[in-house]
């Protein structure tokens, strides 16, 4: 199945979802981007350059690791994880960003902007900009800046200007709006490096294409190291880039169940979570450049969302995934903050791996289902990132008193300076 064969439908649409909803002033910019992207996609040497760059700079291919201890404890399916956490900068976000970097070079632009929520995409973009020699500005909700200072610190040190966005909810969606505002002003020199498979066409397709490297590798690795395809695949869904990246590798394997794991936060109920499809609190809308499911009220204004994982705390979702969901190709489930903390703990203790809070959503759902599966069945989870970055959040979630003491001592030390 070629998701991006628009011959039978409208370009940029996946079923009823997708499209390009942008101010007219960006029309020519987006057209130029589409053309450049199309040319790159058709040029086999571009993909090869991309793969080589990812090998030499980011350590790809990332391995698939068998979690034999966890599988045994649960007594069900054999659990494997795809190790996107081992990428340079610690998450799958780098795949997309380096790909777009190559495209920016092709377009001859010298400045990039990006939105970031958890900070992983901003961190990756700042890294890419440093490596490619681009100017860069990262927009980040002021609340997220306050929550994710470590990432901000690294972005700044890699030479990016980080702008704390004080509009709206001061989180990811507001950073996206601010990026669009920058872009409509500076499109001549500037490429907007969107961080997930959302936004106006061609971004969902483009981000999906770069992230498909995950699924390509993973399919071959499962066959080689696990002896066969997985029965079920789990990936967390924020904007939906790591999920679609992995899922693409198995799109034609109809026997492989694809499961998107959303942020269930405190559980169902508007404002309590960021689950667009698994719960019933979202509806179709058009914002941030695309038509898809949004967590919005009856006026079409967006709701507050909540998740322990900043990277999943987003109002909208990848339109391709919505289409696949409607076609029953992808199942959607939500996982609560509480379940995520438990999944994190057991992963650390039994396997020595620390999934990012985002990725831990995939772990949590997989753990629930693995128990009920047979030991000769296989599960693959996308470990989209590492949890080091989440130390402040995880320490809070685990209510670690030593950590708090440490921070207080540090603060006193700074106060005395």
């Amino acid at each position: 199945m070629d998701l991006f064969d628009f011959a039978d439908g409208r370009e940029g649409y996946y079923g009823d979802y997708g499209g390009t909803f942008l101010p007219e002033i960006l029309h020519s910019t987006i057209e130029a981007l589409k053309a450049e992207f199309r040319a790159a996609k058709e040029d086999p040497s571009f993909w090869q350059d991309f793969v080589e760059l990812m090998q030499s700079y980011s350590g790809r291919p990332t391995p698939v690791t068998h979690l034999s201890n966890l599988s045994q404890i649960l007594g069900g399916a054999q659990i494997y994880i795809k190790r996107e956490d081992l990428n340079h900068t610690g998450s799958h976000k780098i795949n997309n960003v380096m790909g777009q970097g190559l495209l920016v070079k092709r377009m001859g632009k010298d400045r990039v902007i990006a939105e970031t929520g958890a900070g992983q995409h901003g961190y990756a973009t700042a890294t890419m900009a440093a490596r490619f020699g681009f100017h860069s500005k990262i927009y980040m909700g002021a609340l997220d800046v306050a929550r994710q200072r470590p990432n901000v610190f690294w972005m700044e040190n890699m030479g990016s200007e980080v702008i704390a966005v004080t509009d709206g909810q001061q989180t990811l969606k507001d950073a996206i709006n601010e990026c669009l505002r920058d872009w409509v002003t500076n499109m001549d020199t500037t490429h907007y490096v969107l961080g997930t498979a959302c936004g106006p066409h061609p971004f969902p397709e483009m981000v999906s294409w770069f992230q498909s490297i995950i699924g390509k590798e993973a399919r071959a690795q499962m066959i080689e190291t696990a002896g066969g395809l997985p029965d079920r695949i789990f990936a967390c869904v924020g904007g939906g880039s790591n999920a679609i990246g992995l899922f693409q590798g198995f799109m034609d394997d109809s026997e492989v169940q694809l499961v998107g794991c959303e942020a269930g936060g405190f559980g169902p109920g508007k404002g309590n979570h960021a689950a667009r499809l698994a719960y019933k609190d979202a509806s179709v809308g058009v914002a941030q450049g695309m038509k898809t499911y949004f967590l919005q009220n009856d006026d079409g204004n967006m709701l507050e969302t909540h998740s322990v994982a900043a990277g999943l705390d987003y109002i909208g979702v990848n339109p391709i995934l919505v289409h696949l969901w409607e076609q029953d190709r992808v199942r959607f489930e939500a996982v609560t903050d509480q379940e995520v903390t438990e999944a994190l703990k057991i992963s650390m203790r039994t396997e020595g791996v620390i999934p990012a809070l985002e990725s831990a959503h995939g772990f949590a759902q997989a753990i629930k289902e693995a128990e009920k599966m047979r030991p000769d069945e296989r599960i693959l989870i996308n470990m989209s990132g590492r949890g080091d970055k989440d130390i402040f959040t995880i320490a809070d979630a685990l209510d670690d008193s030593h950590w708090k003491q440490f921070i207080q001592t540090k603060a006193e030390q700074y106060g005395a300076e």
């Binding site: 007219e24 002033i25 029309h27 910019t29 509009d167 038509k291 009856d298």
Partner: protein, 265 residues
Amino acid sequence: MALNSYLADRRQHPANQSRNAMIMTHVVCGYPSFEANWQALEVMQEFNVDLVELQFPFSEPSADGPLFVKANQQAIENGVHVQDCFDFMRKVTEHFDFKVVMMGYYNTVFKTGHRAFLEQLKDAGAHGFILPDLPVDEAQELHSIASELELSPIVLMTPTNSDERLAQLANAADGFIYAVARKGVTGSETQMNQEVAEFIQRCRHLTDLPLAIGFGVSSANDIDFIGQHADIAVIGTAALKAWEEQGAQGLRLFFTQLLDQIDQK
């Protein structure tokens, strides 16, 4: 349609004898309050503005600059709903002389439903609508309902568009064309220069509709410049800024400085 003929007539209005451009102003529904909106509109009426955009607040106003972003956000926090905007619009269109167009983001329309929204808009007395995040390529159905209801879909033309694209936009347009004088969001200043003139010229070649020039109009000179090249001057952020500083009195002062010199010519 209704808007086209209004604008044709309105050019002959006594107030427009000395003004070489018509004036369109902007109000964000419910910001700072509907009462304040009403007072502002009364001032605008005093100065014989020709058109008013009533903006329906949206939570993601990505084409707006900081002042309007704040206004949108505050209005929503004030509890302004779409229905309130329609109710207010009806009162406005019943009371004032100027004509009203709805301005907002597409999701507000989409979520209400194309036909339902436009019918309510018609019912509330509006003459058209401006949806800056709805490209014409996505607008066929909406525009055809609009045409049925005699509502003008106001289309934006921008300096980054090719002539080919401008022609396509002209094709879809009705009422007037909103020509965006420069890149960027609302509220930053634009140099009204040769480049802008050339852009207006490009638009002019491709449409007979009146051309409204927006983004950054804040002085009598700007209006004069627009009058020389186009038809309607759009006054948005500068007026809101004046209101923010001194309320109705500030707004009155602003319009006096902006228009009296021209009107007394």
